[in-house]
């Protein structure tokens, strides 16, 4: 299910809040792929994705989610249809936890959409297992969890609904290395099921490994829409200008180049970097 933004403008309100946050955004998030949205703090990433499930509505312009048209005129009642299509994990997971127990929290959405108790429970258990939360925590209050554990519950709550579009706003923040590896696997798995995944991330290494497509936001505008490989081969001066970094491997390669090393292509992953260094060393021996 593709998502298309057509000349979307947005501001949070009137008066002091009237400044434009999204400025004339026209772009498409491809169906069945993993799209990463990157950009500086405050550039408008979270604001943009909240237009995908109608939590925010464009002040001007429209968002087309599959065959649903979201405009400033869309009524709350109509949004029910959209919310079943789009699962969203928010930047601060606590904000979406509320039930008495972890299991009930993850079951809530499915029950709400009319699934029977047993099916909802099975979906919840499967989702919790997928995010790697040990079952000893399932009957606890979701607020009696560590930060990373809460994040896992929030992700599970969205997975359990099995929506065709999944939006993850900085899901890796606070996850330990195993949790991050599980998250990557999970996103690739969703893609295999032909779901549309939207990922906001400040971790360029993660973007390079999982994303098929990237949108770069800068001061409320989408200033680049391309594959991660194309993006991370842009000139360094561009990254400086938009306050972004290369993946760690690319940064390290850049420092080697400053020492006189030469690489045929800019290494962007750990494997590429190791291979490029080993090759250079062999040539010179």
């Amino acid at each position: 299910m593709a998502i298309t933004f057509e000349q979307v403008n947005f501001s949070y309100g009137q008066g002091s809040l009237s400044q434009p946050i999204l400025k004339d955004i026209s772009t498409t998030i491809p169906s069945g792929k993993i799209t990463a949205i990157i950009g500086q703090t405050g550039s408008g990433k979270s604001t943009l994705v909240q237009h995908i499930n109608g939590l925010l509505k464009p002040t001007n312009g429209k968002v087309i989610i599959n065959d649903f048209e979201l405009t400033s005129q869309t009524k709350e009642k109509q949004l029910v249809a959209l919310r079943a299509q789009v699962g969203m994990v928010f930047q601060f997971p606590e904000s979406q936890l509320f039930a008495n127990t972890v299991l009930e929290d993850v079951m809530y959405g499915s029950l709400n959409f009319g699934q029977d108790h047993l099916a909802a429970k099975e979906a919840a258990q499967a989702a919790l297992t997928m995010v790697g939360l040990p079952s000893q925590h399932w009957d606890k209050s979701p607020f009696a969890l560590s930060g990373g554990q809460m994040r896992r519950v929030a992700i599970a709550g969205t997975l359990a609904l099995n929506p065709p579009i999944i939006v993850l706003d900085e899901p890796a923040a606070g996850l330990d290395p195993l949790g991050q590896a599980e998250l990557v696997k999970l996103m690739l798995n969703l893609k295999k099921q032909d779901k549309t995944v939207v990922l906001i991330s400040h971790q360029m290494d993660q973007v390079m490994t999982v994303a098929d497509w990237t949108l770069v936001m800068h001061q409320g505008q989408v200033i680049a829409a391309e594959t991660p490989t194309t993006l991370f081969n842009r000139p360094l001066s561009w990254f400086k200008k938009v306050h972004l970094d290369l993946p760690t491997a690319g940064q390290f390669a850049q420092q080697l180049m400053a020492q006189g090393w030469q690489f045929k292509e800019r290494p962007l992953t750990l494997e590429q970097l190791a291979q490029a260094i080993n090759q250079e060393v062999t040539i010179h021996e």
Binding site: Y12, S16, L17, G39, Q40, T41, G42, K45, S46, Q91, F92, E94, S95, H137, K140, A144, L145, S146, G147, G148, Q149, R152, D169, E170, A173, G174, L175, D176, P177, L178, G179, Q180, H202, M204, H243, L244, D245, T248, A249, F252, Q255, L256, Q259, G260, W261, L270, E271, L273, A274, I277, N278, E280, V281, H284
Partner: protein
């Protein structure tokens, strides 16, 4: 030298079935920068809350700058510790960004003439000086983390604890925080003790000392080069190595010991004739 923090035989459990800390001992010297790492749920935030007196130990003793933590001393001890919590939303108290930074200063009875300069300076460090009149809850995630950090920096505390304070920062923000911490360490020397809780091993490698907890137990403790030389042990408890070590493992030829990125760059240099 006086210890910044001493923890003796600490016992704590949230619920009846299982103790989280069952006799933990840990000393932190004044002026030390300690990175506290461990998998999700290993007890890092709980330990920080016990040090702050937000949670009360079941048994054992915690002392901060020579003073034993008790009902009588808890306020004074909290006055010496600046903590950035894992979720900044839980720590905002002011109606505006400036009020929020001012709040702690008022508690320290900073005279009002000095106040606005201090607020301005702290917000400038984190690049949020243009947001003074904004409501903290109406900021982006990274902006919130920056303000939370400014509120702590403004207090110039003797001990700073950052619980995942860079998790939502953009690359600029991360560099800003790391540079600020290094600068403060230089400026205050043994007067400033830093505890950073993080899942980012590259950030942890900046510390003087890395303490690894696993399910409430202290399992490794040493300088970054000692801890990160033990990749297999770290992997077993679900942790990873810093980028430089992950790269070293894939190189041929490769250095035999731990190196940080700068050291590895220097080591590689003569290989490129």
């Amino acid at each position: 030298m006086e210890k910044a923090i001493t923890i003796k035989n600490l016992k704590y459990q949230y619920d009846q079935n299982q103790p989280l800390f069952d006799g933990l001992n840990l000393n932190i010297e004044q002026g030390q920068w300690v990175a506290l790492v461990g998998h999700n749920g290993s007890g890092k935030s709980t330990l920080a809350k016990l040090i702050l007196g937000l949670l009360v130990a079941d048994e054992g003793e915690i002392a901060v700058l020579g003073q034993t933590l008790s009902e009588d001393s808890v306020d004074e001890i909290r006055g010496q510790i600046g903590m950035v919590f894992q979720n900044p939303d839980n720590q905002f108290v002011g109606a505006t960004v400036a009020d929020d930074v001012a709040f702690g200063l008022e508690n320290l009875e900073v005279p009002s003439e000095a106040m606005s300069a201090k607020i301005q300076a702290a917000l400038e460090v984190v690049g949020m000086e243009e947001f003074t009149d904004r409501e903290p809850h109406h900021l982006s995630g990274g902006q919130k983390q920056r303000v939370a950090l400014a509120s702590v920096l403004a207090l110039e505390p003797k001990i700073i604890i950052l619980d995942e304070a860079t998790a939502m920062l953009d690359p600029d923000g991360r560099q800003m925080v790391q540079a600020t911490l290094k600068k403060l360490k230089q400026l205050y020397g043994s007067e400033l003790t830093l505890i950073t809780i993080t899942h980012d091993m590259d950030e942890a490698s900046l510390a003087d000392r890395v303490v690894v907890v696993n399910d409430g137990q202290l399992v490794m403790d040493g300088q970054p080069n000692q801890v990160f030389a033990q990749g297999a042990t770290l992997a077993k408890i679900g942790l990873e190595l810093p980028f430089s070590m992950q790269l070293i493992q894939r190189l041929d030829p490769r250095p035999q010991n731990y190196m940080n990125q700068q050291e590895l760059l220097a080591w590689l240099s003569p290989l490129n004739k």
